[in-house]
Protein backbone atom coordinates (compact mmCIF):
# COMPACT_ATOMS: atom_id res chain seq x y z
CA UNK A 1 0.00 0.00 0.00
CA UNK A 2 1.58 3.30 -1.00
CA UNK A 3 1.67 6.22 1.37
CA UNK A 4 3.00 9.76 1.61
CA UNK A 5 5.80 10.96 3.85
CA UNK A 6 3.22 12.99 5.76
CA UNK A 7 1.27 9.80 6.39
CA UNK A 8 4.42 8.07 7.59
CA UNK A 9 5.05 10.98 9.94
CA UNK A 10 1.51 10.88 11.35
CA UNK A 11 1.69 7.13 11.87
CA UNK A 12 5.12 7.28 13.50
CA UNK A 13 3.95 10.06 15.79
CA UNK A 14 0.78 8.16 16.68
CA UNK A 15 2.79 5.09 17.62
CA UNK A 16 4.72 7.13 20.17
CA UNK A 17 1.58 7.43 22.30
CA UNK A 18 0.21 4.58 24.36
CA UNK A 19 -2.04 3.44 27.15
CA UNK A 20 -3.82 5.99 29.30
CA UNK A 21 -1.32 8.80 28.75
CA UNK A 22 -2.66 12.31 29.17
CA UNK A 23 -1.66 14.24 26.07
CA UNK A 24 -1.84 18.02 25.68
CA UNK A 25 -2.53 18.25 21.96
CA UNK A 26 -1.48 21.08 19.68
CA UNK A 27 -3.54 21.57 16.55
CA UNK A 28 -2.39 20.36 13.13
CA UNK A 29 0.11 17.49 12.95
CA UNK A 30 0.02 16.68 16.69
CA UNK A 31 -3.77 16.53 16.69
CA UNK A 32 -3.79 14.25 13.66
CA UNK A 33 -1.32 11.89 15.30
CA UNK A 34 -3.00 11.87 18.69
CA UNK A 35 -6.40 11.15 17.18
CA UNK A 36 -4.94 8.43 15.00
CA UNK A 37 -3.40 6.80 18.08
CA UNK A 38 -6.73 6.93 19.88
CA UNK A 39 -8.48 5.34 16.89
CA UNK A 40 -5.93 2.55 16.56
CA UNK A 41 -3.75 1.11 19.33
CA UNK A 42 -4.40 3.55 22.19
CA UNK A 43 -8.17 3.99 22.65
CA UNK A 44 -7.74 5.09 26.29
CA UNK A 45 -5.53 8.11 25.57
CA UNK A 46 -6.76 11.22 27.32
CA UNK A 47 -6.67 14.15 24.89
CA UNK A 48 -6.49 17.61 26.44
CA UNK A 49 -6.95 20.68 24.24
CA UNK A 50 -6.08 24.22 25.29
CA UNK A 51 -9.56 25.41 24.34
CA UNK A 52 -10.64 23.77 27.58
CA UNK A 53 -11.51 20.13 26.96
CA UNK A 54 -10.42 17.15 29.04
CA UNK A 55 -10.78 13.74 27.44
CA UNK A 56 -12.07 14.73 23.98
CA UNK A 57 -13.02 11.79 21.78
CA UNK A 58 -13.66 13.26 18.31
CA UNK A 59 -14.53 10.84 15.50
CA UNK A 60 -13.03 13.18 12.90
CA UNK A 61 -10.07 15.54 12.96
CA UNK A 62 -10.98 18.83 14.60
CA UNK A 63 -10.74 21.72 12.13
CA UNK A 64 -9.34 23.96 14.81
CA UNK A 65 -8.34 23.92 18.45
CA UNK A 66 -11.86 25.05 19.27
CA UNK A 67 -13.87 22.74 17.06
CA UNK A 68 -17.22 22.06 18.70
CA UNK A 69 -16.67 18.32 18.48
CA UNK A 70 -13.92 18.62 21.09
CA UNK A 71 -16.38 20.01 23.63
CA UNK A 72 -19.25 17.72 22.68
CA UNK A 73 -17.18 14.57 23.18
CA UNK A 74 -15.19 15.64 26.25
CA UNK A 75 -15.36 14.23 29.78
CA UNK A 76 -15.23 17.81 31.04
CA UNK A 77 -15.28 21.26 29.45
CA UNK A 78 -13.51 23.93 31.45
CA UNK A 79 -12.42 27.52 30.99
CA UNK A 80 -9.12 28.40 29.37
CA UNK A 81 -7.63 29.79 32.59
CA UNK A 82 -8.53 26.53 34.30
CA UNK A 83 -6.92 24.31 31.67
CA UNK A 84 -3.62 26.14 32.10
CA UNK A 85 -3.73 26.70 35.87
CA UNK A 86 -5.35 23.58 37.29
CA UNK A 87 -4.40 20.97 34.69
CA UNK A 88 -1.24 21.90 32.80
CA UNK A 89 0.79 23.92 35.31
CA UNK A 90 0.85 21.38 38.19
CA UNK A 91 2.33 18.67 35.95
CA UNK A 92 -0.80 16.53 35.49
CA UNK A 93 -0.14 15.97 31.76
CA UNK A 94 2.21 13.26 30.56
CA UNK A 95 2.96 14.35 27.02
CA UNK A 96 2.94 17.79 25.45
CA UNK A 97 2.52 17.19 21.74
CA UNK A 98 3.72 20.21 19.79
CA UNK A 99 4.47 21.40 16.28
CA UNK A 100 7.14 23.92 15.31
CA UNK A 101 8.05 26.37 12.55
CA UNK A 102 11.72 26.10 13.53
CA UNK A 103 13.30 23.49 15.78
CA UNK A 104 16.96 23.59 16.70
CA UNK A 105 19.74 21.19 17.60
CA UNK A 106 18.71 21.30 21.27
CA UNK A 107 14.99 20.99 20.72
CA UNK A 108 14.13 24.65 21.23
CA UNK A 109 11.00 25.68 19.35
CA UNK A 110 10.26 28.85 17.41
CA UNK A 111 6.74 29.77 16.32
CA UNK A 112 7.19 33.54 16.67
CA UNK A 113 9.34 35.09 13.94
CA UNK A 114 11.81 34.25 11.21
CA UNK A 115 14.55 36.86 11.35
CA UNK A 116 14.83 39.65 13.87
CA UNK A 117 11.95 40.11 16.33
CA UNK A 118 11.66 43.85 15.80
CA UNK A 119 12.03 43.65 11.98
CA UNK A 120 10.90 40.13 11.11
CA UNK A 121 11.31 38.49 7.74
CA UNK A 122 8.25 36.39 8.49
CA UNK A 123 5.91 37.08 11.34
CA UNK A 124 4.58 33.71 12.59
CA UNK A 125 1.46 33.25 14.77
CA UNK A 126 3.30 33.31 18.09
CA UNK A 127 3.43 31.27 21.24
CA UNK A 128 -0.12 30.16 22.02
CA UNK A 129 0.00 27.62 24.79
CA UNK A 130 3.36 26.13 23.78
CA UNK A 131 5.83 27.78 26.22
CA UNK A 132 4.04 26.39 29.27
CA UNK A 133 3.18 23.09 27.58
CA UNK A 134 6.90 22.65 26.88
CA UNK A 135 7.73 23.62 30.47
CA UNK A 136 5.15 21.68 32.46
CA UNK A 137 4.34 18.40 30.70
CA UNK A 138 6.37 15.44 31.88
CA UNK A 139 7.74 15.02 28.36
CA UNK A 140 7.39 16.85 25.08
CA UNK A 141 7.06 15.23 21.67
CA UNK A 142 7.55 17.45 18.64
CA UNK A 143 6.20 16.61 15.20
CA UNK A 144 7.42 18.72 12.32
CA UNK A 145 8.08 18.54 8.57
CA UNK A 146 11.83 18.53 8.21
CA UNK A 147 13.88 20.87 6.00
CA UNK A 148 16.88 23.18 6.33
CA UNK A 149 14.32 25.94 7.00
CA UNK A 150 12.69 24.13 9.91
CA UNK A 151 15.65 22.14 11.32
CA UNK A 152 18.10 24.87 12.25
CA UNK A 153 21.32 25.14 14.23
CA UNK A 154 19.78 27.78 16.48
CA UNK A 155 16.18 29.06 16.39
CA UNK A 156 15.74 32.76 15.59
CA UNK A 157 13.51 33.10 18.66
CA UNK A 158 12.99 30.74 21.58
CA UNK A 159 9.22 30.58 21.82
CA UNK A 160 9.27 27.33 23.81
CA UNK A 161 12.31 26.17 25.70
CA UNK A 162 13.67 22.74 24.81
CA UNK A 163 17.12 21.91 26.16
CA UNK A 164 18.53 25.43 25.78
CA UNK A 165 22.23 25.10 25.00
CA UNK A 166 22.53 21.56 26.30
CA UNK A 167 21.86 19.10 29.09
CA UNK A 168 21.38 20.68 32.49
CA UNK A 169 19.86 23.96 31.30
CA UNK A 170 16.33 22.88 32.19
CA UNK A 171 17.33 21.89 35.70
CA UNK A 172 19.21 25.16 36.18
CA UNK A 173 16.07 27.09 35.21
CA UNK A 174 13.91 25.01 37.56
CA UNK A 175 11.77 23.55 34.79
CA UNK A 176 9.95 20.49 36.04
CA UNK A 177 9.23 18.52 32.90
CA UNK A 178 11.87 16.58 30.97
CA UNK A 179 11.40 18.72 27.85
CA UNK A 180 11.55 17.29 24.31
CA UNK A 181 12.34 13.59 24.47
CA UNK A 182 11.18 12.71 20.97
CA UNK A 183 11.04 14.48 17.61
CA UNK A 184 9.20 12.91 14.70
CA UNK A 185 9.53 14.26 11.19
CA UNK A 186 8.58 13.11 7.71
CA UNK A 187 12.10 11.62 7.41
CA UNK A 188 12.86 10.00 10.73
CA UNK A 189 12.90 10.08 14.49
CA UNK A 190 15.24 12.05 16.76
CA UNK A 191 15.99 11.85 20.46
CA UNK A 192 18.14 14.05 22.68
CA UNK A 193 21.52 12.58 23.52
CA UNK A 194 21.64 11.33 27.09
CA UNK A 195 24.78 13.34 27.78
CA UNK A 196 24.51 16.52 25.72
CA UNK A 197 20.77 16.72 24.95
CA UNK A 198 21.61 17.37 21.29
CA UNK A 199 19.03 15.85 18.95
CA UNK A 200 20.36 12.63 17.44
CA UNK A 201 18.80 10.66 14.60
CA UNK A 202 17.67 7.35 16.07
CA UNK A 203 15.36 6.01 13.34
CA UNK A 204 15.02 6.46 9.61
CA UNK A 205 11.63 6.07 7.99
CA UNK A 206 11.40 3.37 5.33
CA UNK A 207 12.74 4.58 1.98
CA UNK A 208 14.62 7.54 3.44
CA UNK A 209 18.41 7.69 3.27
CA UNK A 210 20.81 9.19 5.74
CA UNK A 211 21.82 11.67 3.06
CA UNK A 212 18.19 12.76 2.70
CA UNK A 213 18.10 13.54 6.40
CA UNK A 214 21.46 15.33 6.39
CA UNK A 215 20.30 17.44 3.45
CA UNK A 216 17.28 18.51 5.47
CA UNK A 217 19.16 19.27 8.70
CA UNK A 218 20.72 22.66 9.38
CA UNK A 219 23.48 21.37 11.62
CA UNK A 220 26.16 18.67 11.63
CA UNK A 221 23.82 15.81 12.43
CA UNK A 222 24.81 13.03 14.80
CA UNK A 223 23.40 9.56 14.17
CA UNK A 224 22.75 6.92 16.80
CA UNK A 225 25.10 3.92 16.57
CA UNK A 226 22.13 1.54 16.54
CA UNK A 227 20.12 3.50 13.95
CA UNK A 228 16.69 1.97 13.56
CA UNK A 229 14.20 1.76 10.72
CA UNK A 230 10.61 2.84 11.17
CA UNK A 231 8.13 0.18 10.18
CA UNK A 232 6.04 1.42 7.25
CA UNK A 233 2.41 2.22 8.01
CA UNK A 234 0.25 -0.87 8.20
CA UNK A 235 -2.87 -1.12 6.09
CA UNK A 236 -4.95 -0.65 9.24
CA UNK A 237 -3.04 2.46 10.27
CA UNK A 238 -3.39 4.01 6.84
CA UNK A 239 -7.07 3.15 6.63
CA UNK A 240 -7.71 4.72 10.03
CA UNK A 241 -5.74 7.86 9.14
CA UNK A 242 -7.50 8.28 5.82
CA UNK A 243 -10.90 7.68 7.40
CA UNK A 244 -10.18 10.37 9.99
CA UNK A 245 -9.18 12.81 7.28
CA UNK A 246 -12.11 11.87 5.05
CA UNK A 247 -14.55 12.40 7.92
CA UNK A 248 -13.16 15.91 8.39
CA UNK A 249 -13.91 17.17 4.88
Amino acid sequence: MSYTSDEMMAVAAARALSGRQRVFVGIGLPSTAANLARRTHAPDLVLVYESGTLGSKPDRLPASIGDGILAETADAVISVPEVFNYWLQPGRIDIGFLGAAQLDRFGNINTTVVGDYTAPKVRLPGAGGAPEIAASCREVYVVVRQSRRSFVERVDFVTSFGHGTGRGDRERLGLRGAGPTLVITDLGVFRPDAGTAELVLTDLHEGVSLDDVRAATGWDLKVAPDLGRTRPPTADELAALRALKEASK
Binding site: G66, D67, N85, Q89, P125, E132, T159, L173, G174
Partner: protein, 279 residues
Protein backbone atom coordinates in the same frame (compact mmCIF):
# COMPACT_ATOMS: atom_id res chain seq x y z
CA UNK B 1 -28.60 46.17 34.96
CA UNK B 2 -27.52 45.66 31.38
CA UNK B 3 -29.11 47.93 28.81
CA UNK B 4 -30.55 46.23 25.72
CA UNK B 5 -29.61 48.07 22.53
CA UNK B 6 -28.93 47.65 18.84
CA UNK B 7 -25.42 46.67 17.82
CA UNK B 8 -24.77 50.05 16.18
CA UNK B 9 -25.93 51.97 19.25
CA UNK B 10 -23.99 49.68 21.58
CA UNK B 11 -20.71 50.05 19.70
CA UNK B 12 -21.30 53.79 19.37
CA UNK B 13 -21.89 54.12 23.09
CA UNK B 14 -19.13 51.82 24.33
CA UNK B 15 -16.17 51.95 21.94
CA UNK B 16 -14.22 55.19 21.51
CA UNK B 17 -11.05 56.09 19.60
CA UNK B 18 -7.95 55.14 21.57
CA UNK B 19 -9.74 52.59 23.76
CA UNK B 20 -8.30 49.30 24.90
CA UNK B 21 -10.75 46.81 23.39
CA UNK B 22 -10.91 43.04 23.82
CA UNK B 23 -13.15 41.01 21.50
CA UNK B 24 -12.71 37.60 23.05
CA UNK B 25 -13.70 34.14 21.90
CA UNK B 26 -11.61 30.99 21.69
CA UNK B 27 -12.58 29.75 18.19
CA UNK B 28 -16.15 29.39 19.48
CA UNK B 29 -18.44 32.43 19.95
CA UNK B 30 -16.18 35.04 18.35
CA UNK B 31 -17.98 38.42 18.27
CA UNK B 32 -17.28 39.07 14.59
CA UNK B 33 -20.35 41.21 13.89
CA UNK B 34 -19.33 43.63 16.63
CA UNK B 35 -15.83 43.83 15.14
CA UNK B 36 -17.35 44.70 11.77
CA UNK B 37 -19.44 47.42 13.38
CA UNK B 38 -16.27 48.90 14.89
CA UNK B 39 -14.78 49.02 11.37
CA UNK B 40 -17.96 50.59 10.01
CA UNK B 41 -17.93 53.25 12.68
CA UNK B 42 -14.32 54.05 11.78
CA UNK B 43 -12.75 53.74 15.23
CA UNK B 44 -9.03 54.54 15.31
CA UNK B 45 -5.98 54.06 17.57
CA UNK B 46 -7.47 51.09 19.38
CA UNK B 47 -5.33 48.82 21.48
CA UNK B 48 -6.77 45.45 20.53
CA UNK B 49 -6.45 42.67 23.09
CA UNK B 50 -7.10 39.00 22.50
CA UNK B 51 -5.53 35.64 23.22
CA UNK B 52 -6.20 34.37 19.70
CA UNK B 53 -6.59 37.21 17.20
CA UNK B 54 -7.99 35.65 14.05
CA UNK B 55 -9.91 36.87 11.01
CA UNK B 56 -11.88 39.66 12.67
CA UNK B 57 -8.66 41.09 14.13
CA UNK B 58 -7.01 40.77 10.72
CA UNK B 59 -9.91 42.82 9.38
CA UNK B 60 -9.70 45.45 12.13
CA UNK B 61 -5.92 45.75 11.69
CA UNK B 62 -6.14 45.90 7.90
CA UNK B 63 -8.85 48.56 8.13
CA UNK B 64 -6.49 50.71 10.19
CA UNK B 65 -8.45 50.66 13.45
CA UNK B 66 -5.57 49.50 15.67
CA UNK B 67 -2.33 51.01 16.85
CA UNK B 68 -1.38 48.12 19.14
CA UNK B 69 -2.09 44.42 19.58
CA UNK B 70 -1.81 42.51 22.86
CA UNK B 71 -2.01 38.80 22.14
CA UNK B 72 -0.61 35.29 22.41
CA UNK B 73 -1.43 33.58 19.08
CA UNK B 74 -2.37 35.33 15.85
CA UNK B 75 -3.34 33.11 12.99
CA UNK B 76 -6.12 31.88 10.73
CA UNK B 77 -6.95 28.66 12.62
CA UNK B 78 -6.61 25.61 10.43
CA UNK B 79 -5.57 27.75 7.44
CA UNK B 80 -2.38 29.70 8.08
CA UNK B 81 -1.22 33.25 8.48
CA UNK B 82 -3.14 36.44 9.11
CA UNK B 83 -1.91 38.43 6.14
CA UNK B 84 -3.19 41.84 7.23
CA UNK B 85 -1.57 41.32 10.63
CA UNK B 86 1.68 40.27 8.96
CA UNK B 87 1.57 43.21 6.55
CA UNK B 88 1.17 45.58 9.51
CA UNK B 89 4.01 43.99 11.51
CA UNK B 90 6.36 43.30 8.61
CA UNK B 91 5.68 46.41 6.50
CA UNK B 92 3.80 48.87 8.68
CA UNK B 93 0.76 48.81 6.34
CA UNK B 94 -1.71 50.50 6.64
CA UNK B 95 0.09 51.72 9.74
CA UNK B 96 2.69 50.41 12.13
CA UNK B 97 1.33 48.01 14.71
CA UNK B 98 2.90 47.90 18.13
CA UNK B 99 2.76 44.43 19.65
CA UNK B 100 2.79 43.15 23.22
CA UNK B 101 3.20 39.42 23.07
CA UNK B 102 2.47 36.80 25.70
CA UNK B 103 1.69 33.11 25.97
CA UNK B 104 -1.86 31.77 26.41
CA UNK B 105 -1.17 30.98 30.05
CA UNK B 106 0.06 34.51 30.60
CA UNK B 107 -2.87 36.16 28.81
CA UNK B 108 -5.42 33.97 30.59
CA UNK B 109 -3.91 34.85 33.95
CA UNK B 110 -3.80 38.54 33.05
CA UNK B 111 -7.57 38.44 32.50
CA UNK B 112 -8.03 36.47 35.73
CA UNK B 113 -6.13 39.16 37.65
CA UNK B 114 -8.21 41.82 35.93
CA UNK B 115 -11.45 40.06 36.82
CA UNK B 116 -10.25 39.62 40.41
CA UNK B 117 -9.39 43.24 41.06
CA UNK B 118 -5.71 42.38 41.48
CA UNK B 119 -2.87 44.28 39.81
CA UNK B 120 -0.99 41.15 38.76
CA UNK B 121 -1.09 37.36 38.48
CA UNK B 122 1.53 34.72 39.24
CA UNK B 123 2.30 31.69 37.09
CA UNK B 124 4.99 29.24 36.12
CA UNK B 125 5.58 30.69 32.72
CA UNK B 126 7.95 32.02 30.05
CA UNK B 127 10.99 30.44 31.73
CA UNK B 128 13.88 30.20 29.28
CA UNK B 129 11.94 31.77 26.41
CA UNK B 130 12.79 34.93 24.48
CA UNK B 131 9.31 36.30 25.22
CA UNK B 132 10.50 37.46 28.61
CA UNK B 133 13.19 39.59 26.94
CA UNK B 134 10.97 41.25 24.30
CA UNK B 135 7.87 41.82 26.44
CA UNK B 136 8.18 44.28 29.31
CA UNK B 137 5.04 43.06 31.06
CA UNK B 138 6.71 39.83 32.21
CA UNK B 139 8.63 40.05 35.49
CA UNK B 140 10.04 37.71 38.13
CA UNK B 141 8.38 37.46 41.54
CA UNK B 142 9.62 35.64 44.63
CA UNK B 143 7.41 33.47 46.84
CA UNK B 144 7.51 35.00 50.32
CA UNK B 145 7.21 31.54 51.89
CA UNK B 146 9.53 29.31 49.84
CA UNK B 147 11.85 31.79 48.12
CA UNK B 148 11.05 30.22 44.78
CA UNK B 149 11.11 32.61 41.81
CA UNK B 150 8.02 32.61 39.60
CA UNK B 151 6.66 34.88 36.90
CA UNK B 152 4.32 37.84 37.33
CA UNK B 153 2.18 39.42 34.61
CA UNK B 154 0.07 42.56 35.02
CA UNK B 155 -3.73 42.51 35.07
CA UNK B 156 -5.60 43.22 31.85
CA UNK B 157 -8.46 45.65 32.34
CA UNK B 158 -9.82 46.60 28.92
CA UNK B 159 -11.90 49.73 28.55
CA UNK B 160 -14.39 47.53 26.72
CA UNK B 161 -14.74 43.78 26.34
CA UNK B 162 -17.02 42.39 23.64
CA UNK B 163 -18.12 38.75 23.61
CA UNK B 164 -20.80 36.75 21.85
CA UNK B 165 -23.13 34.38 23.74
CA UNK B 166 -26.03 32.11 22.91
CA UNK B 167 -28.78 33.85 24.87
CA UNK B 168 -29.85 36.62 27.19
CA UNK B 169 -33.13 37.20 28.97
CA UNK B 170 -35.01 40.49 28.82
CA UNK B 171 -33.37 41.70 32.02
CA UNK B 172 -29.95 41.25 30.41
CA UNK B 173 -28.76 38.10 32.14
CA UNK B 174 -26.47 36.30 29.71
CA UNK B 175 -26.06 32.54 29.22
CA UNK B 176 -23.32 30.81 27.23
CA UNK B 177 -22.17 27.22 26.91
CA UNK B 178 -19.78 24.96 25.03
CA UNK B 179 -16.17 26.12 24.89
CA UNK B 180 -16.13 29.09 27.24
CA UNK B 181 -12.61 30.33 26.59
CA UNK B 182 -11.71 33.32 28.70
CA UNK B 183 -14.93 35.23 28.08
CA UNK B 184 -16.21 35.45 31.63
CA UNK B 185 -12.88 36.76 32.87
CA UNK B 186 -12.59 39.20 29.96
CA UNK B 187 -16.05 40.66 30.69
CA UNK B 188 -15.42 40.91 34.42
CA UNK B 189 -12.00 42.51 33.85
CA UNK B 190 -13.40 45.28 31.65
CA UNK B 191 -14.64 48.72 32.61
CA UNK B 192 -17.53 48.33 30.13
CA UNK B 193 -18.86 45.29 28.32
CA UNK B 194 -20.98 44.40 25.33
CA UNK B 195 -22.48 40.97 24.84
CA UNK B 196 -23.99 40.15 21.46
CA UNK B 197 -26.37 37.18 21.64
CA UNK B 198 -28.05 34.81 19.22
CA UNK B 199 -31.41 35.54 20.80
CA UNK B 200 -33.13 37.28 23.65
CA UNK B 201 -35.57 34.98 25.42
CA UNK B 202 -38.14 35.28 28.19
CA UNK B 203 -36.40 32.86 30.48
CA UNK B 204 -32.96 31.28 30.61
CA UNK B 205 -33.69 27.60 31.10
CA UNK B 206 -30.75 25.65 32.56
CA UNK B 207 -28.33 24.08 30.08
CA UNK B 208 -25.56 21.63 31.06
CA UNK B 209 -22.18 23.31 31.04
CA UNK B 210 -23.69 26.78 30.82
CA UNK B 211 -22.33 29.81 32.59
CA UNK B 212 -24.58 32.75 33.48
CA UNK B 213 -23.32 36.33 33.65
CA UNK B 214 -25.77 38.33 35.77
CA UNK B 215 -27.23 41.39 34.14
CA UNK B 216 -25.51 43.67 36.65
CA UNK B 217 -22.10 42.49 35.45
CA UNK B 218 -22.78 43.47 31.83
CA UNK B 219 -23.13 46.98 30.37
CA UNK B 220 -25.05 46.38 27.12
CA UNK B 221 -26.65 43.36 25.46
CA UNK B 222 -27.42 43.40 21.72
CA UNK B 223 -29.36 40.73 19.85
CA UNK B 224 -27.28 39.79 16.80
CA UNK B 225 -28.29 36.39 15.39
CA UNK B 226 -25.31 34.86 13.60
CA UNK B 227 -23.09 37.50 15.19
CA UNK B 228 -20.26 34.99 15.57
CA UNK B 229 -20.12 34.00 11.87
CA UNK B 230 -17.79 32.58 10.48
CA UNK B 231 -17.17 31.25 14.00
CA UNK B 232 -20.02 29.30 15.53
CA UNK B 233 -22.42 29.31 18.45
CA UNK B 234 -22.91 25.82 19.85
CA UNK B 235 -26.58 24.86 19.55
CA UNK B 236 -27.21 27.59 16.97
CA UNK B 237 -24.71 27.36 14.12
CA UNK B 238 -21.76 25.47 12.64
CA UNK B 239 -18.33 26.91 11.99
CA UNK B 240 -18.04 28.13 8.39
CA UNK B 241 -14.66 26.58 7.61
CA UNK B 242 -14.85 27.68 3.95
CA UNK B 243 -15.01 31.33 5.02
CA UNK B 244 -11.73 30.91 6.87
CA UNK B 245 -10.18 29.32 3.78
CA UNK B 246 -11.58 32.01 1.47
CA UNK B 247 -10.26 34.75 3.71
CA UNK B 248 -6.71 33.65 2.97
CA UNK B 249 -6.84 34.83 -0.64
CA UNK B 250 -8.66 38.09 0.10
CA UNK B 251 -6.31 39.01 2.90
CA UNK B 252 -3.13 38.28 0.93
CA UNK B 253 -3.81 41.19 -1.40
CA UNK B 254 -4.16 44.81 -0.27
CA UNK B 255 -6.54 45.66 -3.12
CA UNK B 256 -8.76 42.63 -2.60
CA UNK B 257 -8.87 43.48 1.06
CA UNK B 258 -9.64 47.12 0.29
CA UNK B 259 -12.56 46.03 -1.85
CA UNK B 260 -13.82 43.84 1.00
CA UNK B 261 -13.63 46.74 3.46
CA UNK B 262 -15.43 48.91 0.95
CA UNK B 263 -18.26 46.39 0.65
CA UNK B 264 -18.44 46.14 4.43
CA UNK B 265 -18.56 49.85 5.12
CA UNK B 266 -20.65 50.95 2.12
CA UNK B 267 -22.98 47.99 1.68
CA UNK B 268 -22.76 46.43 5.13
CA UNK B 269 -21.76 43.11 3.58
CA UNK B 270 -19.06 41.06 5.27
CA UNK B 271 -19.30 38.28 2.71
CA UNK B 272 -16.27 36.66 1.13
CA UNK B 273 -15.97 34.70 -2.08
CA UNK B 274 -14.21 31.36 -1.99
CA UNK B 275 -14.26 27.93 -3.47
CA UNK B 276 -17.67 27.29 -1.94
CA UNK B 277 -19.11 30.42 -3.53
CA UNK B 278 -20.11 33.54 -1.65
CA UNK B 279 -20.33 33.27 2.12
Amino acid sequence: MAEIATLADAVGELVGDGDVVALEGFTHLIPTAAGHEIIRQGRRDLTLVRMTPDIVYDQLIGAGCARKLVFSWGGNPGVGSLHRFRDAVENGWPRALEIEEHSHAGMANRYVAGASGLPFAVLRGYVGTDLASVTESIKPITCPFTGEVLTAVPALNPDVTVVHAQRADRRGNVQLWGLLGVQKEAVLAARRSLVTVEEIVDELTPVPGAVVLPSWAVTVVAEVPGGAHPSYAQGYSERDNAYYAAWDAISRDRDEFGAWVGRLTREGSARVTGKGGER
